[in-house]
C-alpha cells in the first residue's frame, strides 16, 4: 500500500489529457445548462461529431489536417442547428429528449456495419493525427520524480490546457456582457425576457451552438490525444460524467467546470488505484472474501457517487457556487 504513489497517479490523471476532455465538455454544458438553462443530455453526440468531423475528413475524404479541424468545428455547429430548430421553441424537456436521442443515434450510426466504409464501424478510425503529433516540440518526456509525463502526454496537456484557458476566456468575456445577462435571464424566466423585447429563440440557439462547439472541441481533443475515434467512447455516460464535473465545480461559474472536472477525475482515478492496490497481492488490505479484484474497479463508482451525494447535501451550489442562489426560491 503506497499512498504517495496513489496520490501521484491520481494527481497525474487529474491534470492529464482525459481530465481535459471532461473539462472542455463541461465548459460546453456550463454554457448550456449553467448559464442558459438548456438541458443538453447529448453532449457526447456533440463530442462525437467533432471527433468524426476530423477523422472522416482526413482519413476517408483524404483532406488536409487543417481542413479536418475546420470540419470538427463545423459538424457540432450543424448538429446544434438541427437539434435546436425544432426543439428550442418548445418546453425545456423536449431539448433534453432530442439531444439524448440524437447522441445515441449518432453513436449507433458511427458504429454501424452498413456505414463501415465511412465511419469505420465499431473499430472506428485511425491515422489522422500525424500532423498533430509532428508538431510536438518536446524532445522527451519529463520525470521529476513526483510528476511524470511521457513526451506525448506533455504535448497533449500543453495543447489541452491552452484550449481550456482560451475557452474559459471566451466564456468569461461573453458571460460578463449584456449578452450573458440575457442568457442568465432566459434561464430564470423565458417569458419575462420575451416581454422585454428580446428574441429568446435566437439567444437560445446561439447558446446551444456555442456550448455544442465546446463539446465538439472536447471530442476533437479526445480524438487527437488518443489517435483513434471509436464509437463506444462517445456513450451517454460521457455526458453524465461531464455533468457531474460541472455540478461539483458549480454551474454558471467560469472556473466551475475546470475545477469540477479535475476533482472528479482525481477522485475517480485515485479511488481506482487505491482499491486495485488494496485488493491485490498475497496479503491484501481488504480481505478477498469482502472484495475481490474484479469488484474493486467498480467500487470506486459507488464511493464517487457517495461523495457526490455528500456534496449535494452540504454544498449544493458546488465548489464555486453562491449559497444565496440556492437559498432563494425560484418563483
Amino acid at each position: 500500500m503506497d499512498f504517495l504513489e496513489i496520490l501521484r497517479i491520481a494527481l497525474q490523471q487529474a491534470f492529464g489529457p482525459t481530465a481535459i476532455v471532461f473539462v472542455l465538455a463541461a465548459i460546453g454544458l456550463n454554457v448550456h445548462f449553467g448559464y442558459t438553462g438548456l438541458l443538453n443530455f447529448g453532449q457526447s453526440g456533440f463530442m462525437a461529431v467533432g471527433a468524426y468531423g476530423l477523422a472522416v475528413a482526413v482519413v476517408v475524404a483524404d483532406l488536409p489536417f487543417w481542413v479536418g479541424i475546420f470540419f470538427a468545428f463545423l459538424a457540432p455547429l450543424v448538429l446544434a442547428i438541427v437539434l435546436g430548430l425544432p426543439t428550442l421553441r418548445l418546453r425545456a424537456d423536449y431539448l433534453a429528449i432530442a439531444t439524448i436521442a440524437a447522441a445515441e443515434i449518432l453513436r449507433l450510426i458511427f458504429g454501424s456495419v452498413e456505414l463501415k466504409d465511412t465511419f469505420g464501424g465499431s473499430n472506428g478510425l485511425t491515422g489522422y493525427s500525424s500532423t498533430y503529433k509532428d508538431m510536438n516540440p518536446y524532445s522527451e518526456g519529463i520525470d521529476w520524480g513526483f510528476i511524470r509525463y511521457s513526451r506525448d502526454d506533455l504535448w497533449n496537456i500543453t495543447v489541452g490546457w491552452t484550449l481550456v484557458a482560451i475557452s474559459c476566456l471566451i466564456v468569461w468575456a461573453l458571460m460578463r456582457s449584456p449578452w450573458g445577462r440575457v442568457l442568465r435571464s432566459i434561464r430564470e424566466d423565458e417569458d419575462a425576457v420575451r416581454s422585454l423585447g428580446k428574441n429568446v429563440f435566437a439567444y437560445k440557439m446561439q447558446a446551444l451552438i456555442l456550448g455544442g462547439m465546446f463539446g465538439g472541441l472536447a471530442g476533437l481533443y479526445f480524438a487527437l490525444k488518443q489517435s483513434s475515434v471509436v464509437p463506444t467512447d462517445y456513450n451517454t455516460t460521457l455526458t453524465f460524467y461531464a455533468y457531474t464535473a460541472l455540478l461539483i465545480g458549480g454551474a454558471a461559474r467560469v472556473l466551475g467546470p475546470v475545477v469540477g472536472a479535475v476533482i472528479f477525475w482525481f477522485l475517480l482515478s485515485g479511488l481506482g488505484v487505491f482499491f486495485s492496490q488494496a485488493t491485490s497481492g498475497p496479503d491484501p488490505l481488504i480481505p478477498s472474501w469482502l472484495m475481490d479484484q474484479t469488484q474493486s474497479s467498480l467500487v470506486r463508482f459507488i464511493i464517487t457517487g457517495l461523495a457526490l451525494m455528500l456534496l449535494m447535501i452540504f454544498r449544493p451550489q458546488g465548489i464555486f457556487g453562491d449559497r444565496r442562489e440556492i437559498a432563494i426560491d425560484g418563483r
Binding site: S185, E188, R331
Partner: protein, 301 residues
C-alpha cells in the same frame, strides 16, 4: 401636459358607452378576436379600441378572458381568428418580443422576476437596443461599457422612483410579492414603452404600497404613456382609470367612465354585486344589529 390630459379625457366624454365603442384616437384597434380552449370560448371580442394617453381598466369576473386577451394582444398566445393593430401596425402573427419592441410592454399576473439576478441586473435587462447583447460585440467590453453606464443611470433613477434603490444589489428572488410587482413595473419602463399593460398590479400588495402604486400608474399617464390594466381591486379602478371596459365570458359587455360603468345594472349583476359600494364590515354589523334586535323582540314578546 395637464391640458393635454384633460383633452384626452374630454375626448372620451363624447364616446358612446356601448361595447366596442369607437375612440377618437385609438392606440389599439382590434376586431373579431376569438380564442378557444377545447370547447370553451375564452375570448370572443367583436371590436375593441383603446384610447391613447389615458388609463383604461379591464375588469370582469374570474375566467372572463381578460388575461387571455392580454396574452393575445401581446403575442404570447395565438388567436383562432381576429386582427388587431398597435399604432397602425398590424400585429397579427407578430411574435411577443417584436410586439414589445414596437412599444407595447406587459407585466404578468404572477410576477416574473429573474430570481437569481440582482435587482439592478433585472432593470438593465429591460433596456432595448443594447450593443452588448449582440453575440459578436459582447466579448469586447469597450464597445458597450458606455451604453451600460447610461442604462445603469436610467435604471437607478427608476429604482429610486419606485423606492427599490435600497434593494439594488439584492437578488430579485429575495424581494417580497409587492416589491416584485414594483420591480416588474419598473423593469417594463426600462423598455420605454408607449403602452404599458399591467396584469393585476395590485394583487397581493399591502395597502400602504397600494397607495404608492396608484401614484406610479397615474404618473405613467402624466408622462404621456397609455396604460391598460386588469384589476379586481375596484378602489383602484374607481380612483385612477379614465375608462373602463367590462368583460364577461370572453365578451366585452360594457364600457364607459368608471362612474357610469359602476352604475350599470348589468355590470353590477354580472360582477360587482349589489353591495359593491358599501364596506363589507358595515354590512356585517348592520346585519348583526338587526339580528340582535329581532332576538330581543322575540324574548320580550
Amino acid at each position: 401636459m395637464a391640458a393635454e390630459l384633460t383633452a384626452a379625457q374630454a375626448a372620451l366624454a363624447d364616446v358612446a358607452t356601448d361595447p366596442g365603442a369607437k375612440k377618437p384616437d385609438p392606440i389599439i384597434v382590434g376586431s373579431q378576436i376569438t380564442r378557444t380552449f377545447g370547447g370553451l370560448k375564452a375570448v370572443d371580442v367583436e371590436h375593441i379600441e383603446i384610447q391613447r394617453g389615458v388609463i383604461t381598466a379591464l375588469i370582469g369576473p374570474n375566467g372572463a378572458g381578460k388575461t387571455t386577451l392580454f396574452n393575445l394582444l401581446t403575442g404570447f398566445d395565438e388567436p383562432d381568428t381576429g386582427e388587431w393593430s398597435f399604432n397602425g401596425n398590424s400585429l397579427q402573427r407578430v411574435s411577443a418580443f417584436r410586439v414589445a419592441r414596437l412599444g407595447m410592454v406587459r407585466t404578468f399576473q404572477l410576477t416574473k422576476v429573474l430570481a437569481k439576478l440582482t435587482v439592478i441586473e433585472n432593470m438593465r435587462l429591460g433596456a432595448t437596443g443594447q450593443k452588448g447583447e449582440s453575440f459578436w460585440l459582447a466579448p469586447f467590453k469597450w464597445l458597450w461599457s458606455g451604453q451600460e453606464r447610461e442604462i445603469t443611470a436610467r435604471a437607478d433613477e427608476l429604482l429610486a422612483r419606485f423606492k427599490l434603490d435600497a434593494k439594488r444589489e439584492d437578488f430579485a428572488g429575495s424581494l417580497s410579492g409587492g416589491q416584485r410587482k414594483l420591480l416588474e413595473m419598473a423593469r417594463a419602463l426600462m423598455v420605454d414603452p408607449e403602452l404599458i399593460m399591467l396584469d393585476e398590479p395590485m394583487a397581493g400588495v399591502n395597502p400602504a404600497l397600494k397607495q404608492s402604486l396608484l401614484g406610479h400608474v397615474q404618473s405613467l399617464r402624466d408622462e404621456g404613456r397609455t396604460v391598460l390594466f386588469v384589476e379586481h381591486d375596484m378602489d383602484m379602478v374607481r380612483h385612477i382609470s379614465d375608462w373602463v371596459i367590462v368583460m364577461a365570458q370572453g365578451q366585452i359587455v360594457a364600457e364607459g367612465t368608471p362612474q357610469s360603468v359602476m352604475a350599470d345594472q348589468r355590470v353590477i349583476d354580472a360582477y360587482l354585486g349589489a353591495h359593491h359600494d358599501t364596506d363589507l364590515s358595515q354590512i356585517d354589523e348592520q346585519a348583526l344589529e338587526a339580528e340582535i334586535e329581532a332576538e330581543l323582540k322575540e324574548e320580550q314578546a
